[in-house]
């Protein structure tokens, strides 16, 4: 917290305080939710929404920060689910002990992210998107065809003998914990040097490399973190539904939904994808359960929302809203001083920070 950052203090502090208050209120609401609404039909919404908050945040840690739009997150989601299912089946893990397999699922996601990233991250933009999609379809095909994945009927999970109310409530809190954890990680990444390097890559990768950013290593690290989070929440989802099939575990709509959530809320910001998930997932679930309309209506509605977002709100709710607030606060005061106004020039050059530093001494690296 150096003085320079906080120079225009009053506004920032007020903003920070209300932000903190809002966050606390949100946390309390999230914790109380299943206690207030104990109906399993409603807590089901809660569980699936928290799963998507986690997945959208996982997507955002890599794609939101780097600008590399991944449509292959279902690779991790499905692999996490299958990893738990296969391990539980083959090692005869049962009951609550199945939760002990969550780290395994995370490790599987991280392990898959390494070769996946080494291949896909060599290319950028559209080519990257196409490669993530291709890898996604390879994984779906593998789930259909390998001998250990149960083919098209997929895998069932061990049975949990909890009554419906506490079943949903327990899963809600597990998913909430993952959501909170992933948001915390996203926030830590965002404010760290690591996050800064990711965002520098997003803005101009070649320039960032010319300033010493080891782009491949940094991108791959974010991809691995993202993959591990997504795989773990995929495993939670699997155990919650007791079932994974190739077309649900490796579901192309999963990635489109994540991207829509992130775009709607504002990708790159920590809160954007969370907000997007909180809006989109309940809406989808509600549309799917309306008897009057057929199942594919929700997909049409999501598609329509996507179009509206891309056309009218390309940067998402959070950045656009934030800009509006800033505009209101500064009251249209121009933010930029003209180019000729280059300020009072300092009389002498600032001293070298480290004489004979690792940089100028040509340290062998």
């Amino acid at each position: 917290m150096s003085g320079t950052r906080r120079r225009e203090t009053p506004l920032v502090t007020v903003g920070g305080a209300s932000k903190g208050g809002g966050l606390l209120a949100l946390a309390v609401a999230a914790v109380l939710f299943p206690l207030v609404f104990s109906n399993p039909g409603i807590t089901n919404y809660g569980v699936l929404t928290m799963i998507f908050v986690t997945a959208a945040t996982g997507w955002n840690i890599f794609s939101g920060n780097t600008g590399y739009i991944s449509l292959g997150q279902a690779v991790f989601y499905g692999s996490g689910a299958y990893a738990m299912g296969i391990a539980a089946r083959d090692w005869h893990v049962e009951g609550t002990q199945v939760f002990a397999l969550l780290p395994l699922s995370g490790a599987v996601g991280a392990l898959i992210a390494v070769p996946f990233g080494l291949v896909a991250l060599r290319v950028r933009r559209h080519t990257f998107i196409v490669i993530t999609l291709a890898v996604f379809f390879i994984f779906q095909l593998m789930a259909y065809n390998f001998w250990f994945t149960g083919g098209s009927s997929g895998l069932g999970s061990p049975f949990l003998s909890w009554p419906p109310v506490s079943y949903n409530r327990s899963f809600y809190y597990i998913a909430l914990a993952f959501a909170a954890g992933s948001v915390l990680i996203a926030w830590l990444v965002r404010r760290s040097r690591f996050g800064l390097q990711l965002r520098a890559i997003r803005d101009d990768e070649d320039r960032a490399r010319g300033l010493g950013v080891k782009a491949m290593r940094v991108k791959l690290s974010a991809f691995v973190i993202s993959g591990a989070i997504t795989a773990m929440i995929g495993a939670v989802w699997f155990y919650y539904l007791n079932q994974v099939e190739p077309q649900t575990g490796f579901n192309p709509l999963f990635d489109l939904t994540l991207v829509l959530m992130a775009f709607l809320g504002g990708y790159g910001s920590v809160s954007g994808p969370v907000l997007g998930a909180l809006l989109i997932e309940p809406l989808t679930l509600w549309l799917n359960t309306q008897p009057a309309i057929s199942g594919s209506v929700s997909e049409i509605v999501l598609g329509a929302i996507f179009l509206v977002v891309v056309l009218f709100l390309p940067r998402g709710i959070v950045p656009t809203g934030g800009e509006l607030i800033t505009k209101l606060r500064t009251r249209g005061r121009p933010a930029v001083v003209p180019a000729t106004d280059i300020g009072p020039a300092a009389g002498s050059a600032p001293p070298s920070p480290r004489p004979g530093s690792s940089v100028s001494s040509g340290g062998a690296r």
Partner: protein, 257 residues
């Protein structure tokens, strides 16, 4: 004494175009060296080869006594060579101070995972980043998004954020290109100051002859991808080959109001 930066026999072809054809240049430590030549003579390509953005077909790049030919850009920077681009390249969606910190933190290695995610390194580099922003004169804009800066301010930012990691030599690609005369003088003044007070080494490509002649102690002339002449401004200015080839024409154009 070995030169700080030296290239020998660099060739590079893009398809049928021979961009570089045996280009050799030597930059002594503590000098401001200039690289001039008509458009398409291979100046920027040579910069790209030195900084790892292009791989030469043949030839060597030496930094002190170390061959750095074919190093990746991040490795070239870690060795101690920073550069700016002809059309400035800043990070538009990062704030000005964040732009400064990209280079700062890329150079020192976090001791552990906590440091990697922690904020300490930022505060440690922040002071120097602010000093440099003040030095180029845009410290008031530290918290603005860099994308909202004017072109001239971006030029200053690019100069500042390359300096933040304290590279041994800074390569400037047209530092005076596309900016107004006041700012050109300001930039020249900053370069001179850094060179005199810190002995910072520069290699710059520039079409503005007044700028080059006033600043550089050695000038290398490149033509069709090969070095024609190299020497102090007075020698280069009057060299018959240079004048015959193009400099006379070029000078007349540049000096026209």
């Amino acid at each position: 004494m070995t030169a700080l930066l030296r290239t020998e026999g660099i060739t590079k072809a893009y398809g049928g175009v021979q961009a570089l054809n045996g280009a050799a240049i030597t930059v002594e430590e503590g000098t401001v060296a200039g690289l001039i030549g008509p458009n398409g003579s291979g100046k920027t390509t040579l910069f790209n080869v030195i900084t790892g953005y292009a791989r030469p077909d043949a030839g060597q790049v030496w930094f002190r006594d170390r061959a750095i030919t074919g190093y990746a850009p991040e490795k070239v920077f870690a060795v101690g060579i920073g550069r700016t681009f002809q059309l400035t390249r800043i990070f538009p969606r990062l704030t000005v101070i964040e732009n400064m910190l990209v280079a700062a933190q890329a150079t020192d290695r976090p001791k552990n995972l906590l440091a990697w995610f922690g904020r300490d390194a930022w505060t440690q580099h922040r002071r120097r980043a602010m000093e440099l922003l003040a030095f180029v004169g845009i410290e008031r804009h530290a918290e603005l998004l860099a994308g909202s800066l004017s072109y001239g301010q971006r030029k200053l930012l690019e100069l500042a954020y390359v300096l933040v990691a304290d590279p041994a030599v800074v390569l400037l690609d047209e530092p005076a290109g596309g900016v107004n005369p006041t700012l050109i003088n300001h930039i020249a003044d900053r370069i001179r100051l850094l060179n005199r007070e810190q002995g910072k080494t520069f290699l710059l490509v520039e079409h503005n002859m007044e700028f080059v002649m006033g600043l550089c102690s050695t000038i290398t002339v490149l033509e069709s991808g090969a070095d024609v002449v190299s020497g102090p401004p007075d020698i280069v200015r009057t060299d018959k080959r240079v004048l015959d080839a193009y400099l006379g024409v070029d000078l007349a154009e540049e000096d026209a109001p």
